[in-house]
């Protein structure tokens, strides 16, 4: 019984890790687009590291 509960928690944890990792990959370019729209000048926009 306890094992089943642990497994359920583990599955949910794995699900959240996967969702959060993928969300970061999906949201990063979008965030860059939004932040770039608030910047001015080439130096600021094309600064490296981004």
């Amino acid at each position: 019984m306890k094992k089943g509960i642990y497994l359920k928690y583990l599955r949910t944890l794995f699900l959240y890790i996967a969702l959060i990792t993928l969300s970061i990959a999906f949201i990063m370019p979008f965030l860059w687009m939004v932040t770039t729209s608030l910047k001015s000048g080439e130096d600021e926009i094309f600064s490296y590291p981004p």
Binding site: L15, L19, P29
Partner: protein, 301 residues
């Protein structure tokens, strides 16, 4: 009897009058241009000159044009990478979002947001991401010790790069897969669970077969879209350097068609190109439909 027929005729006439604006719009803006492009494909016309009837001349010329074969190859290469990738990622996201856990709607929104960004903005954004010197992707690859390629500036990587970008706008595919999952009766999974099937067995023998009508629909629509790719290639080729850059490696079929029409004003040839593409899409769709009875399962069948 006669009275009723007069009344029916009057009602019919009124009905036609009501849909007349749509019929006029359809004839002028849809059917008209389609028929005109058929007519054009049998002519040599450079907009400023008179039209010259050349019969099947444009179609014959097509088959001796190396750029026609090249653009077709580039487009198919893109479709072969993009379509399965979008379907797999869309399904994966839908499977992750299907369990009812807290915050699902937030994640769903995050995955869908890129799809509402206009294609021009998306393409411009990804030119920066793929920039080999100061782009985001090579920055992260460098962090894990990988020397990233030149992406849009490389003849080898430009098509895969544009195809990978399609994954970012996977939102609609994900939503349709989610709707497909919602449509599968819970009782099937429960029964399989009782029979001792694990997650992968339930996925392989229940979820995927019952999702096959959804996959069938998405496969056809995504393939049609992939074969008609234009804007991404027009904007991103060679990092925004121009048509088909670098060295025609990103010369997609629709880009070549556009170039023939609006850079060289070969309207007849461009029309022939568009009809050949229509024919290719039609034949492919037909083949997929014909083979569908082998891999698409409907709940009722």
């Amino acid at each position: 009897m006669r009275k009723r027929s007069i009344l029916a005729r009057k009602e019919n006439l009124e009905g036609y009058l009501f849909i007349l604006p749509w019929i006029i719009g359809f004839c002028v803006f849809t059917a008209g241009p389609i028929l005109f492009s058929v007519f054009l494909s049998f002519h040599e016309w450079h907009i400023f000159d008179d039209m010259k009837w050349i019969g099947l001349g444009n179609y014959k010329m097509l088959f001796t044009d190396p750029l026609f074969y090249h653009s077709l190859k580039v487009t198919f290469e893109y479709a072969i990478i993009n379509v399965p990738l979008v379907l797999i990622v869309g399904l994966l996201l839908a499977l992750l979002l299907y369990p009812k856990v807290k915050g699902t709607s937030v994640f769903r929104t995050i995955f869908y947001i890129p799809s509402i960004v206009p294609v021009v903005a998306t393409a411009t954004l990804w030119i920066w991401i793929y920039n080999p010197e100061y782009g985001l992707l090579n920055f992260f690859l460098e962090k894990i010790g990988i020397d990233g390629p030149d992406w849009l500036y490389s003849t080898e990587w430009v098509v895969p790069a544009i195809a990978f970008m399609g994954v970012w706008t996977v939102g609609p595919t994900m939503i349709i897969y989610l709707a497909g999952l919602e449509d599968i009766p819970q009782v099937y999974w429960d029964a399989a669970k009782v029979d001792g099937a694990n997650y992968w067995q339930r996925l392989r023998y229940i979820t995927l077969p019952l999702l096959s009508p959804t996959t069938f629909f998405l496969f056809i629509t995504n393939l049609m879209g992939a074969l008609q790719t234009f804007a991404q290639a027009y904007i991103m080729g060679g990092g925004g350097e121009g048509f088909g850059a670098p060295a025609n490696a990103s010369l997609f079929y629709c880009l070549y068609l556009y170039e023939q029409g609006w850079s060289w004003f070969n309207m007849g040839y461009a029309s022939a190109l568009s009809w050949i593409l229509t024919l290719i899409i039609f034949v492919l769709t037909l083949i997929i439909f014909k083979t569908s009875n082998k891999w698409v399962y409907y709940e009722r069948s």
